[in-house]
Symmetry: C2
Subunit: 562 residues, 2 copies
């Protein structure tokens, strides 16, 4: 049966990339350490760094002409560097939601009928090409998100590409499970029934991806590649203050599609401004069937309430730390300080609430009092925040002025132990910086404990016992959501109990993290990012449901003999 | 880490049944002919038939005491035999929705922590035990649904058990993909990070299964076993007129659970009456997270609108047939007549709308006129309906009086070609029977065409061309839903075009079915039942999304070295 739009050059891409995709799939199943794209910038060609910076500089104050989207109007974005506080001055082609959807529907009519292995081949090729842009995307990320250089490089470059590769690997795993064609035969009395059966995946419809200002690439690539893999065109609607990084990805994809005789509009960039948003208009359109989203819980709840949508949401939670007993308190304090300071706490996985028994924390040297524990953690934050090299490398800058305002409001509701203060960035005098607020509340029921205060902050919360702290954590997770949870205990019995309770509350706990292991980090091919089992989100990078919810198996039965 | 509730006898069950589950999984992936439970009654022990009938006779007019559900009140059901029109007089233990949910929550606390392979072992064991009840369940099905004997045996026995086995096989496929424990190591400068990682599936919550009166077992077992496999306790809420068949399944499961030291309440039967339904009370309870449902579209839309539920719905559609060209018109007519007559059209897969070009249908002998085609199909129905052996064996009886009323209403809206009439059942003089109404409408836009008239009926719809018929079919599928679609064409070009269009409308077409191959049938391990891609339903027996939507992967990271 002639159903598919096959093309030899695309089939060759599949042959070229299949071995690597097989390796990625094996890694996803084994879940031991594996990377597709190395995280060390030195792993890339020597000229790449300079070229990336030059590309970035050349793009500033110019139209972004790399997209293959026709438009009569160009929109100059709201993008402002958190480091220089200057507008990037980049303009992007602007389209109406209706036009974007019409173009996506045209692309769908083609993309859905490209054999899935050719689709995967083309997408693998686009990732290879994207890797050549890691340095430019790092600069673009740094100057839109406020991330420090190394995070900007890793999160928007190799780590994001690995998450995309992982999504393709899981798609491969699922799509390959069902044969595309079989001959089914059955004896029925004196006759023999022969039925040719064809199975093929068809996307649920068109995808909308709503990006976030803090991780415009890392949080976008898994859903983007998952939808593309199953034949769903994607409209990318980045946060109006962080368009440039994902525009690079969109341009690479469009060019790859065009080079392989496919409509560039399989991916489209939809730009808007903070003042005139178009997201709701897109999300509510009946042709939009799949929505990926990272952002605040209010807008997430709105998306969830839209009828007839399949949503993959990462909303917000309140992340907790519980100290029951530790082997090395100084090491634990440093680890917590790092996790709370990394990217100025502007991570969905940054810890906020630190529950500490009033009776103190057990250590090999005896019980350390609540007061001493808080002093040691606070000192670790101080040391990091005042370190001339560590502070800029770890804290980076604030994505927007709202973060500092939020932390200022929080400081009025709590007992401040260490005020949030700006630090001087050695390279960018105008950088919008803020070191963590360290504060204390009276008890776990206090209102500030029950809300996320996205930004640099850490709250000490005295609890009567570790058990009470555990209950408070679970309650918090069930009602507010939780994306990361650090549990410190050397007691195997408490450990099992805590893991069970937290798991039942939909939380994936991290036990006794210290040294260079941080709860903020989730790695492709090994860690599920988000459980999807508590109010912080309903999806996970990357489990099979992240893929299979996006498509349906269609079947054709052709009876040859009855 | 001590998390799981393991038990040697359950682990032994896993060892015992794993080979068979591996075979089932292989069959699901290969999708060629395979059965776990043979459909021929003669394949079962000689004494089984007599024993099954004796068990059935002994149960009539008695309390159903096999359930392990305590209750102070017993509810005598609304079950009436469509063959004898006598009440079955069986009573079942009655529980309040709150009590059912409390017991399910207690069961969840245990079942979620039973290792998944032990769960699968116990469930495989329960299926083996259920097979010993196939004959009783066949009688129970016949005398609640009105199915003829062979369908009652096959659909509620081996075919249902195979669908359950398939659900377990797909669950196995998914659960096994992720390792339960790995050691993750990464070089980080001079140090080495070592993290032990544990992965385990946790159910989304408690399941509610809302059964249908026509296929109380076949439509229930896939979702029931899918939920159980991933650790979700199930409350079975059968249709009040078809409780007995699934009560047998519930009793077998409860006994198996009890025998293996597990709470019987992992499955509970929730009974109600037509006059005092409890379904909404259960469905709306916040503890109910997963809902499986087969039934009418109005109630399905209500379930879909409930916030926070994961639904697996088989609602209704309008099934279509399109005749473009055929090789053997008589054979096609017989095939359509059989499909429309089987179980008096009380199947979600029974054809209703037959689109025929006014210009006639091409055959090797030349074009046959519209009028002649309709006469040949009508004659095939007449022949079947008047055959003293075929009629009772194929048509069976009407589940309830509403079916005949519906067909009577339909006959007033259409041009009747052959009135629906009762036939005399040779064995049951009181049987509620009805042979198919054959009727005609003027054009594809006529209102009767756009609604499902569940029961014995076939509508001829003249269309200007096969293309117009195809468009009408696609439009019907998009707006009303479609579970089965028969396409007759010998033209490869029309075939490809039609398959593409129908597929894009979310329909899985069956081409040129004839002889003993019927569009009504979907077989486990090869056919997906329902695409989930049109308004007829949002799920499919059994794809991976049918399984993975019911659970989340939880993860624990234990840092040993940082």
């Amino acid at each position: 049966m002639e159903l598919f739009l096959s093309a030899a050059p695309r089939a060759e891409l599949w042959a070229k990339h299949q071995p690597r995709l097989l390796a990625a799939r094996k890694a996803w199943q084994q879940r031991t350490f594996w990377v597709g794209y190395p995280e060390d910038p030195k792993s890339y060609p020597e000229t790449a760094a300079a070229q990336g910076e030059a590309d970035f500089q050349a793009q500033l104050q110019k139209p972004f002409r790399r997209l293959r989207q026709e438009s009569s109007t160009w929109l100059t974005s709201d993008e402002v560097s958190p480091y220089t506080q200057a507008h990037l001055g980049i303009s992007y082609p602007q389209s109406s939601p209706d036009r974007l959807i019409r173009k996506a529907e045209e692309a769908l009519a083609v993309w859905r009928w490209v054999p899935w292995n050719e689709r995967l081949g083309v997408l693998m090729e686009s990732l290879e090409r994207f890797a050549e842009r890691f340095f430019e995307v790092a600069h673009a990320t740094l100057h839109t998100t406020g991330q420090a250089w190394m995070m900007a490089f890793q999160a928007s470059g190799p780590h994001a590409a690995d998450r995309a590769l992982e999504a393709l690997a899981v798609a491969y795993h699922e799509l390959e499970a069902i044969p595309s064609h079989v001959r089914w035969e059955k004896e029925a009395g004196r006759s023999r029934i022969v039925i040719e059966k064809y199975f093929f995946p068809q996307p649920e419809g068109i995808s909308l991806h709503i990006g976030v200002s803090t991780f415009p690439v890392w949080n976008t690539l898994p859903g983007l590649y998952a939808s593309l893999a199953v034949g769903s065109p994607v409209i990318l609607k980045p946060h109006p203050r962080a368009i440039y990084p994902i525009a690079i990805v969109a341009a690479v994809l469009q060019q790859t599609f065009a080079d392989y005789d496919l409509p560039p509009e399989i991916v489209q960039l939809a730009v808007d401004t903070v003042a005139a948003p178009i997201t709701k208009q897109l999300a509510e359109h009946p042709a939009i069937r799949i929505i990926d989203y990272t952002g605040g819980p209010e807008f997430g709840a709105y998306l969830e309430s839209l009828p007839g949508k399949i949503t993959f949401l990462e909303k917000a939670g309140v992340n907790g730390v519980l100290l029951e007993s530790v082997t090395d308190l100084e090491a634990v304090a440093k680890n917590i300080a790092f996790s709370a300071s990394l990217y100025s706490g502007q991570m969905c996985t940054a810890p906020q609430n630190v529950y500490i028994p009033r009776t103190g924390v057990r250590t090999p040297q005896g019980i350390v009092s609540y007061e001493t524990v808080t002093e040691i953690v606070q000192k670790a934050i101080d040391d990091l925040a005042s370190h001339p090299k560590a502070a800029p490398a770890i804290l980076g800058a604030l994505q927007n002025a709202g973060v500092a305002e939020r932390i200022a409001r929080l400081s009025q509701q709590v007992q401040v132990r260490r005020p949030a203060q700006a630090y001087t960035h050695p390279q960018f005098a105008q950088a919008r910086t803020l070191t963590p607020l360290v504060a204390e509340v009276a008890q776990p029921e206090d209102p500030p404990v029950l809300h996320e205060h996205f930004g640099p902050r850490l709250l000490f919360i005295p609890v009567r016992s570790a058990e009470e702290g555990l209950d408070a954590l679970c309650q918090l997770a069930r009602t507010r959501g939780m994306l990361a949870c650090a549990l410190y205990t050397t007691d195997p019995s408490f450990q099992s109990r805590a893991v069970r309770q937290l798991t039942e509350a939909g939380v994936a706990p991290s036990l006794n993290f210290h040294g260079q292991a941080f709860i903020n980090q989730s790695v492709a091919f090994s860690d599920f990012h988000g459980t999807g089992a508590n109010p912080a989100g309903n999806a996970s990078f990357t489990d099979t449901s992240f893929i299979v919810k996006r498509f349906r198996w269609l079947q054709v039965r052709h009876c040859l003999a009855g």
